[in-house]
Amino acid sequence: MPVDDVPQGIFNTALNAGGRLWLAGCWIRAALLAGMWITLAWMPADALPRAAAQLLVATAALLLAFAHIIPGGLDVIARLPGTGPLARHMSDTSGRATVDVPGLSEGLGAFLAASLYVGWFPISEMPVDVRSAGLTLAISYTWEAVLQAVIDPGWYSFSHPAGKGMRIFRYAIPLIFAGILTFVLLPWTTVDAQVPLPLRIVLSASPLAYYLAWAAFDVMLKASATSLRNSRNLWRWETWGHAHGSVKNTLVFLKQYVEDPEPDLEEIRSLVRNALVVVNEFKGQLIGGHVQNATGGSVSELWDSVQQALGSRHVRCVLDGESAEVRLSVTDYQIAQRVLPDLVSNAIKAGASSVDARCSVGGQPEEVSVEIADNGAGMTTEDLSDPRTSLRMLRARLTERNGDLRHVPNETGGTTVTARWRASRGLGPAGLYGAPGY
């Protein structure tokens, strides 16, 4: 992972912005082109075929530009007869700073459109105001199209950076364009001279505004990419903080039991299962939107984590609907975090192919009850004290919390084990210290 990933962020931001800017630009050019088509209403009838033909080039080029950005646009081009190479070319040049057919077509179309109003062969019979308006529309159309080239995402490409020649060309674009406009807008004919001089000067100098737009675009890109990077760095540390709070602390406690001069295997077994559940919960919090906070956690989310931790996919494990709605206080949640995997694990060890879980909070004084019913081999009272399971320790822990662990055989085989303990509601006067016994 690169330490400084701002350049990549700049390119990604340019790509994200580029698509939207390109689409917006296409619609702006479409509006400008529509304005130019409207000026045909003031042209003499004999000039209309020529004017329409000239504007059709820009119109076709604009459609190619739309095809570049609209989903499925290139596929439509590819399906037209004889346009396969064009579609491939457009696909290859997408997202790169290079010269392409749509760009050249738009350039040619813009030139032909502008030459309806000024230049060497303008349409002579047209009101001056319409000529000035048409010229402004044509130059604005070209200005917008060239702007897209100046801020094209391809200039910021990380994997295919523009060559040195292209980079120099980028700096020269405004000057070249301003030079071309100045040349074209010279009063070549008496018709040209009808367009007011101030308008011609403003239009000729307008490409210099690209430098401002370019600089502003670069600043926004860099600021956006820097913010993204800073947020990611903060997120990394916050994630580590959460990982430490849940996963590492669990492992630290496990280590203490492991390093005990007389390690208790039951406890270690239980803590390992607990650690696996915690790891899966952490995954749930990171990518699954699981919510744990000062009000506690959801039994449904805990159940998901338990199943993933125990790898119990080959066993039918079901949590009933009402239990899935239960939210436990922080303390009760953590106790359930130990109880559920222990009980489910023991059911699976007993050969169960079906495990049904229930969890409820209620009674007076309030208690949490977790019930696991399985169709396994069944268990005896001695099993609760079997050192090969973690049930003995679990029962001792529940007893400390005014609870117990009971089992009853099911009529159809298997066992139902119920773990109970005094609820601790945590925050609030009716919480832990409001409950009798505390």
Partner: protein, 260 residues
């Protein structure tokens, strides 16, 4: 004695109980510092074990627990993973403002815990090497006082954790860029001193690439910003903790005592 454990892990409470139950102590646990506010008879506890961070379960830190315990006159022990970099400032604040009896690392064995409680029970104050590192020098200026010289430094530290550009920092705290530069210059050495003293493992490289800049002023700024930003990111929770703001406010404006 009655002991309360303020730790987001039930396992921490169980470890303390396991270590002390045989000695006749009664151990109860709560998961968040917020819960202390709802305990009516907090005074009945003779001792508290307090964790400093409660990532998942609470927005508050152990500093809130220490304040509430202090107000109730309950002596406290810090029970925290002190090897983590982002605990450092919390530990410095805890030992500067609340003078806890000792620091018990999360890795402490049952025997270690029993020994500390035994010392406290005998009326002595445990002098653990772990705690000694965080106690403010006497005489001398506490490190935290040099890091947060005035209350107004906290928003700056918060902004430096969020941004890497002094324009953005200045905008975020409504301050001139030159004042931001002054702040960076003023705090550069103390951050280095803290990191060196406690052997902090700041990210091996600045979080946002190599310093840049041409002029002397820009180079100074560019060289100071990366390590200070990294430091602020690591300790962001501390700089944002409302308890820290209260502590600094009280430090700078101690309540005046009425003359009788």
């Amino acid at each position: 004695m009655n002991i309360i454990v303020v730790d987001d892990h039930v396992a921490a409470e169980e470890i303390v109980r396991g270590a002390l139950a045989s000695e006749g102590h009664s151990v109860r646990g709560i998961r968040t510092p917020d819960e202390l506010e709802h305990i009516g008879d907090l005074e009945k506890y003779a001792l508290a074990f307090v964790d400093l961070r409660f990532h998942t379960w609470s927005e508050n830190s152990g500093l809130l627990a220490l304040r509430l315990l202090d107000e109730a006159g309950v002596p406290a022990l810090i029970y925290s993973a002190d090897e983590e970099d982002n605990r450092l400032l919390f530990l410095l604040a805890a030992f500067q403002f609340y003078e806890p009896l000792a620091l018990v690392p999360k890795s402490a064995s049952s025997a270690d815990i029993r020994a500390i409680i035994c010392t406290i029970g005998s009326g002595a104050r445990p002098d653990t090497a772990a705690a000694r590192r965080y106690k403010p020098p006497r005489p001398g200026v506490p490190l935290l006082n040099r890091l947060i010289v005035r209350l107004g430094d906290l928003p700056l530290w918060q902004a430096i954790a969020e941004h890497t550009d002094r324009f953005a920092i200045a905008e975020a705290v409504q301050m001139s860029r030159s004042k931001v530069d002054d702040f960076l210059a003023e705090h550069f050495d103390i951050v280095g001193e803290i990191e060196e003293t406690f052997g902090l493992r700041t990210p091996p490289q600045p979080l946002y690439g190599a310093p840049q800049g041409r002029t002397n002023a820009a180079r100074s700024y560019a060289h100071r910003m990366p390590p200070l930003h990294s430091f602020a990111v690591v300790h962001r929770d501390f700089f944002q903790d409302p308890e820290v703001e209260k502590l600094i406010e009280q430090r700078d404006n101690p309540p005046t005592r009425r003359r009788r």
